[in-house]
């Protein structure tokens, strides 16, 4: 099936968000240290969309970035996070750790609060999607954990993020 058809097919189930995020991803300057060119990455991702049928997988749509000084989610992100909560529930995952981050612009204390509000925004949608509020922990890590350079706007945009971390409910015995 052609990529465009597949995307169109997904429009009924949150596909608009997917397209928007795809476009946004295309405009993002990749990490300079990656050995893969933007063209290679785009080709890889296009290929992936033609795999797996309609099975939901964790992929690039799961990235949660925020505008400067904002903790508000756009509609597309709300759809993405809600879908994630429901799909994780299907495999028995009802909780998550949600960690908000900020870029280094502005006061560190303010950024810690901003990052917590970002995490809280995501937590609200996860719980709205069916996760239990007492099993979703929101934390604000401020500007302490950058994943890209704060010297460029592209890098700062990557640092204004929320990270969702999930674990199996069970553990494997090691004895």
């Amino acid at each position: 099936m052609a990529l465009s058809e597949r995307v169109a097919k997904k429009l009924g189930s949150g596909g608009i968000a997917m397209v928007m995020l795809l476009l946004a991803a295309c405009q993002t300057v990749p990490d300079n240290s990656s050995p893969y060119s933007p063209a290679q990455i785009a080709a890889l991702r296009q290929y992936q969309f033609e795999q797996e049928g309609d099975r939901w997988l964790l992929d690039l749509d799961s990235k949660l970035l925020f505008p400067t000084d904002s903790a508000a989610l756009v509609d597309g992100q709300v759809v993405t996070i809600g879908t994630m909560a429901r799909e994780l529930a299907k495999v028995g995952i009802g909780g998550a750790d949600v960690e908000g981050h900020a870029d280094s612009v502005g006061d560190a204390e303010y950024n810690r609060d901003l990052s917590l509000r970002r995490a809280q925004s995501v937590k609200d949608v996860l719980t709205g999607g069916g996760m239990a509020a007492d099993r979703v922990a929101a934390a604000g890590l401020g500007e302490s954990q950058p994943i890209a350079s704060n010297d460029t706007e592209e890098g700062r945009a990557q640092n204004r993020r929320v990270v969702i971390i999930v674990s199996p409910d069970d553990v494997i015995p090691a004895e």
Partner: protein, 175 residues
């Protein structure tokens, strides 16, 4: 539980003791830990969707990985082979062709470099020593007193060139 039975038998089958790493002396239950680690790595490899079919899956063990001794014994349920390659902590030049990085004892700088190399490309990252999962590795091993589990960083998956089936999170329940 079936898992317990299978697991108990496989412990004795493990031949090699894990090599003690920096700051992580071998424990009496080291074989069990290594086997449980390999079990989780196997699930990760089985539930990862690379952009193109790969066989064998090449796992590159970077630095000293004291829990990774049994990774070489992994066989995937779909018949694909697993090939293990050991790389020095600065062995970036030899990393071509790796489908997964299993990251052992690395300082923060080297860790960052390996993670950013993987960004955007079709490489799975598994951190052995980042239980908080803040290194932006996709999967992070979590070692308890008698248990082994892992965490999944959704943001890191979204920055990668692979997709992950969330059923990986059922590893301890279904197997």
């Amino acid at each position: 539980m079936l898992l317990g039975a299978v697991f108990g038998n496989s412990v004795t089958a493990l031949a090699n003791s894990p090599q003690p790493g920096i700051g992580a002396p071998a424990q009496p239950e080291a074989k069990g830990v290594a086997t449980a680690t390999a079990r989780i790595v196997r699930a990760i490899l089985e539930y990862t969707r690379w952009p193109k079919p790969i066989d064998p899956v090449e796992v590159c063990i970077v630095g000293t990985a004291s829990m990774g001794a049994a990774i070489e014994t992994i066989s995937l349920s779909d018949g694909r082979q697993v090939a293990v390659r050991h790389l020095a902590r600065d062995g970036f030049a030899s990393s071509s062709g790796c489908d997964a990085y299993y990251l052992g004892a690395l300082d923060a700088g080297a860790m960052r470099q390996w993670i950013s190399r993987a960004h955007g490309g079709p490489v799975v990252t598994i951190a052995e020593r980042d239980p908080q999962c803040r290194s932006e590795a996709m999967f992070c091993m979590v070692y308890g007193p008698n248990t082994v589990s892992f965490r999944l960083n959704v943001d890191a998956v979204s920055r990668s060139g692979v997709r992950v089936d969330p059923r990986v999170l059922r590893i301890a329940k279904d197997r």
